[in-house]
């Protein structure tokens, strides 16, 4: 025995005894070796009691060796790197590791929650549903939720880095046991692009704990030779510590690579890497997991799965006990008995449920002095915090207690069919192995080796090789390599299905992690929850972190026998993604914090910062809402900026405004179909406002279109509609009118837009210099020019959203800051003021201009906003037929109007309803306010909204919340439009 690790062998295993590693578990210091997992190091140190169960807080110890471990979940790491519910079997030891068992307080030995165990006969399945009914569930929910759960979610921000990668390959091999290695080896020799993934840190799978002679050499030597061969090719990617967690349509698989531990991440390593792989063919060599046996007290620390016990002995040089009993219904566990005996553990007996166990073990049994109890069973166990003895029933029915501190059990092997099921494949129940095996494939994959029910090394090698051969043929790849050969010492004898050992007192657990016992399944059956999906939800069987990896098949078989059905007919619950728990951060990858939804900055962003802008997110763009002066409120800034536009000039960056070039001989014809109004009659150099509808007749966007020349338009959309409308035009063009000769090109971000607006706008623009005449009669409202502005090539739209003379100046995006500076400098003597979105919206509200999406919703048609004349248009357009529907022709539909509060100081609240009170005092909505603000130039509140009947209601006085208001036309300021034409 080795130093301070009383259960460590002096030699053997894949651990480096010259490299001790210190770690802490539950506050106590221990030492393990390089190559250990937390689980093997705990066993080496004799830590048997390492966790408490979820519901009854029963003492638990390690049961498994990998993903199937259901008992020892730990809180790993501390502070911001604290991770809950990590299986101790999957944590590779590192210097300074800190872990603590979950679900116990104050510690795992003295756990207050253990009182639940004393009350366990009252806490059967469905207890909560039946008990906490008065006065209602919510009365108890808080307390129960606090008591539930295992580890604690970290409260601090995760400091680690996570990555994702995409990959393609010809063949993806999942699992590196004998079958997987044989498949990868052949594929590699053929020149195929191969990915081999293994969730363990070492390749080899079952060869890490089983003796085999392959192609004349020892299994370890064969693994090394195969690894060397794979490493020699650049087309082969081998990923260890990588679990294939998801299998999706068309051979898309998700892999989770565990890259750095806590210590490495602190030094800058990536923690996890998520791989999205598309494989032409997939070979599933996922192996098999041991099935527990269900008998009273089978959850006591010291009762372990037989294969796991052998794994600890062979792989880690750790013996999990000094005196062992083996309980089995198959040949597999005999290997464990021999491995233990070879390592010096006393194996008192192999208890085999079969009356006539294979006699070819007899010489080795007698060599080690191991008694064979045929036709026997373990019916009960003893030990407060760890196993002390088991009660054995021999073939003749006699009962006796046998002292032991380790019970290795095996109820047969469950092929790991999770990925196969996720791929859409159907399982079949195989009576010979009493397990579910892959049936028909739904995708280009094949299961091999133990995953397909072939439990011998020679069989696994052959099936892996043959499957790879078939896969390569479909890929037209040559392969010339002989299958590896393993001389198998003997063929395993059939097992005897044993689902439940009755006769013991106390709970016989099926699902260790969720504390579901055989009695709970009986209860579910009595209460008619016999569908497996009902059984799962009623008892919580197969839920939680292990997703029933050890429990599902036992549970189904017990339910099958209780209901007189076959296991096949009873069926399985659905195997879902992910195969093992994944950190949420691995999904996010780099897309966190600032990179989660990167905000877009306008080309002159830097200028707005200099002006002291207050930024907000407008549809993904960072835009100034206003530019508050020192000590000025946002509301005051909005008023000042808006007033400056009315009195002198304002400067506004509108770069996100959508810009789409529509070019081609049929451009005019196409836009007539897209807009509710006519665009073909527009003259070159002119601009027209238009509405776009969907086929329901509802307004989806508005904006102006400029005709540059006969076959060339520029369509401007709202900022929020830029991408959506470009896609909308493409869809109609490609799907409905492919015969039209038109090209649509979205150019939104290629152009920066600076809008100069106000009575001084023309004089300022003259000052910076333009290559064209700005006189009102030469370049009037609703015109378009291409030319130079301040010597910058520009496209100028003379359109107005403020009601003042406005120039929307488009320049190549990189020139935007320069244009901004030139205009600002030229306007200094005119009191030019930068204006944000808040002031901008106030100005258009004063003018009664629509803001699509604010004033309108998904039911608003052009008829509702005073555009009845569009129906006079002769030609068809998108949405036209819907406008003719009786519903859209109703005169009492909601229509667009202005509201003026009787008290001019009142700003009507946006969203407030126009209320009608009926004769019987019931109130109903007659409309609502959609936009409102205080007009600094008018000195009163202005508002827009919708009211039933629309402009037929002009002059009515209505109640809006507590306010009285008059229905008025939308334009409150300069209704004749004299100013914008100036």
């Amino acid at each position: 025995m080795s130093g301070t690790q009383p259960f460590r062998l002096a030699s053997g295993g894949e651990v480096d005894r010259d490299r001790p590693i210190r770690f802490r578990f539950g506050g106590k210091a221990y030492t393990g070796f390089e190559g250990d997992t937390l689980a093997s190091a705990l066993l080496a140190n004799g830590v048997r009691l390492a966790g408490r169960s979820f519901k009854y807080h029963r003492p638990r110890g390690l049961i498994g060796m990998g993903v199937e471990e259901s008992n020892v979940l730990v809180q790993l790491g501390s502070a911001d790197r604290s991770t809950p519910n990590v299986r101790a079997t999957e944590v590779y030891l590192y210097e300074g590791l800190e872990a603590a068992p979950v679900n116990c307080w104050p510690n795992v030995r003295l756990d207050i929650g253990g009182i639940n165990n004393l009350m366990s006969r009252f806490l059967a399945a469905g207890f909560y549903y039946k008990t906490f009914m008065w006065p209602n569930w919510h009365f108890y929910e808080g307390i129960i939720r606090r008591a539930a759960g295992l580890g604690r979610a970290p409260t601090q921000r995760d400091p680690d880095r996570y990555e994702s990668r995409n990959a393609h390959c010809d063949l993806l091999v999942v699992g590196s046991g004998p079958a997987g290695l044989a498949a990868a080896r052949l594929a590699a020799a053929s020149g195929a692009r191969v990915m081999l993934v293994e969730q363990d840190s070492l390749l080899g799978g079952s060869l890490l704990h089983d003796d085999a002679t392959i192609d004349g050499s020892d299994a370890r030597a064969w693994i090394d030779a195969t690894k060397e061969m794979l490493a020699a090719s650049e087309d082969i990617v081998v990923l260890a510590r990588t679990a294939a967690v998801g299998y999706f349509d068309h051979n898309a698989l998700t892999l989770l690579e565990q890259v750095g531990n806590e210590a490495a991440c602190a030094a800058g390593s990536v923690r996890y890497r998520l791989w999205n792989v598309r494989a032409k063919r997939v070979i599933l060599a996922t192996g098999a997991l041991d099935r527990p046996l269900v008998f009273s007290g089978n959850d006591r620390p010291g009762v372990m799965l037989a294969t796991a016990v052998r794994h600890y002995v062979r792989r880690f040089g750790v013996v999990p006990g000094k005196k062992a009993i083996v309980f089995t219904n198959n040949d597999e566990a005999y290997r464990t008995a021999f491995a233990l005996a070879e390592a010096g553990t006393i194996v008192s007996a192999v208890v085999d449920a079969r009356s006539h166990p294979p006699d070819n073990f007899s010489s080795r049994l007698s060599h080690f002095g191991i008694a064979l109890i045929a036709g026997g069973a373990v019916v009960a166990t003893k030990g407060a915090k760890a196993l002390r003895a088991v009660q054995v029933r021999s073939g003749d029915g006699a009962l006796r207690w046998v002292d032991c501190d380790l019970l290795a059990m095996s109820g047969g092997l469950n092929p790991t069919v999770h990925l196969f099921c996720q791929s859409g494949g159907k399982l079949r129940f195989d009576e010979a192995t009493a397990s579910f095996l892959p049936g028909n494939s739904a995708q280009a994959e094949e299961s091999v080796g133990a995953a397909a029910g072939t439990f011998t090394v020679s069989g696994a090698l052959q099936s892996g090789h043959a499957a790879a051969h078939r896969a390569l043929l479909t890929l037209d790849l040559e392969c010339c390599l002989d299958a590896p050969v393993c001389a198998e010492e003997r063929l395993p004898q059939p097992l005897l299905p044993l689902w439940h050992v009755s006769g013991g007192r106390g709970k016989a657990f099926v699902d260790f992690q969720n504390d579901v016992s055989a009695d709970d399944i009986g209860l579910a059956a009595r209460e008619n929850f016999i569908s497996v999906e009902h059984l799962k939800r009623y008892t919580t069987l197969g839920m939680a972190a292990d997703q029933g990896k050890t429990s599902n098949v036992n549970a189904l078989a017990i339910m099958a026998s209780l209901t007189g059905r076959s296991v096949q007919d009873t069926g399985t619950t659905r195997y879902r993604f992910p195969f093992t728990p994944m950190p949420l951060a691995s999904f996010a990858g780099r897309a966190r914090a600032d990179l989660f939804r990167p905000l877009r900055m306008m080309p002159a962003h830097e200028r707005h910062i200099r002006h002291g802008a207050a930024f907000e997110d407008y549809g993904g763009w960072m835009r100034p809402s206003c530019y508050p002066l020192p000590g000025e409120s946002h509301a005051a800034a909005e008023q000042r900026e808006a007033l400056a536009v009315r009195q002198s000039a304002g400067l506004f960056e509108g770069s996100p405004l959508g810009k789409i070039e529509v070019v081609g001989p049929d451009a005019a014809k196409f836009l007539d179909l897209i807009y509710a109004n006519t665009m073909s009659t527009l003259k070159s150099g002119k601009v027209r406002y238009g509405l776009m509808l969907n086929e329901l007749g509802a307004i989806i966007d508005d904006g102006v279109a400029a005709r540059v020349e006969d076959t060339h338009y520029i369509v401007c959309t709202s900022s929020g509609g830029a991408a959506r409308i470009a896609a909308w035009l493409e869809e109609w063009l490609q799907c409905e009118w492919p015969g039209l000769d038109v090209v649509v090109a979205p150019v939104t971000t290629a152009w920066g837009v600076v809008t100069l607006t106000g009575p001084a706008a023309r004089r300022i623009l003259e000052k910076v210099g333009t290559s064209f005449d700005l006189a009102a009669d030469v370049f009037p409202h609703m015109s378009f020019r291409e030319g130079l502005v301040a010597n910058i090539p520009a496209r100028i739209f003379r359109v107005s959203y403020t009601g003042e003379v406005s120039y929307e100046i488009n320049v190549p995006a990189s020139h935007t800051p320069e244009l901004w500076d030139r205009l600002f400098a030229a306007g200094a003597t005119h009191g030019i003021t930068p204006i944000g979105v808040d002031g901008w919206m106030l100005l258009r509200t004063e003018k009664g201009f629509l803001h699509i999406g604010a004033d309108t919703d998904g039911t608003t048609t052009p008829l509702d906003v005073g555009w009845g004349y569009v129906l006079k248009k002769k030609s068809d357009f998108v949405g036209r037929r819907s406008l003719l529907l009786p519903e859209n022709q109703r005169s009492d539909k909601l229509g667009f109007v202005g509201f003026r509060a009787v008290d001019p100081a009142v700003i009507l609240p946006v969203g407030e309803h126009v209320v009608i009170t009926d004769a019987d005092s019931t109130q109903r909505s007659d409309g609502y306010v959609t936009s409102a603000g205080f007009s600094p130039v008018l000195g009163m509140g202005v508002a827009l909204g919708m009211i039933h009947g629309g402009d037929t209601r002009l002059g009515d006085t209505v109640s809006i919340g507590v306010h009285r208001a008059q229905v008025v036309p939308p334009a409150a300021y300069d209704p004749e439009g004299k100013r914008l034409n100036g």
């Binding site: 999706f248 349509d249 068309h250 051979n251 898309a252 999205n276 598309r278 859409g424 739904a442 086929e695 329901l696 896609a727 493409e730 869809e731 490609q734 799907c735 409905e736 492919p738 068809d876 036209r880 037929r881 819907s882 003719l884 529907l885 009786p886």
Partner: protein, 99 residues
């Protein structure tokens, strides 16, 4: 996660595409000649077959071209990919509804 053979770009991952729903829906017209019922059917009536379904998809994060997919909604098998304006390949017998 479907692997979709864009007729213009070749096989690409589903995340690059958007589905535009049932394909081969005839837009009735001219507007004055279409009954309310016919127009309502055009707007709202869609099939929801188990089995073969013809849909139109757009390679939104690629070439931005629209095309048709004949897809089995039960198995997610893509039976055919064909361009706009091309006729739909015949459905395998007994394999779901045909629009």
């Amino acid at each position: 996660m479907l692997l979709i053979e864009c007729p213009w770009c070749g096989p690409r991952d589903e995340v690059e595409f958007q589905c535009g729903g049932q394909s081969h829906i005839e837009r009735p017209g001219p507007p004055e000649a279409v009954s309310d019922e016919r127009w309502g059917a055009y707007l709202f009536e869609r099939i929801n077959p188990k089995g073969l379904h013809r849909e139109r998809w757009v390679h939104a994060f690629g070439c931005r071209r629209w095309f048709n997919i004949a897809r089995n909604t039960a198995t997610h098998e893509i039976i055919a990919v064909y361009r706009m304006g091309e006729s739909s390949p015949d459905a395998p017998s007994g394999d779901g509804a045909v629009p």
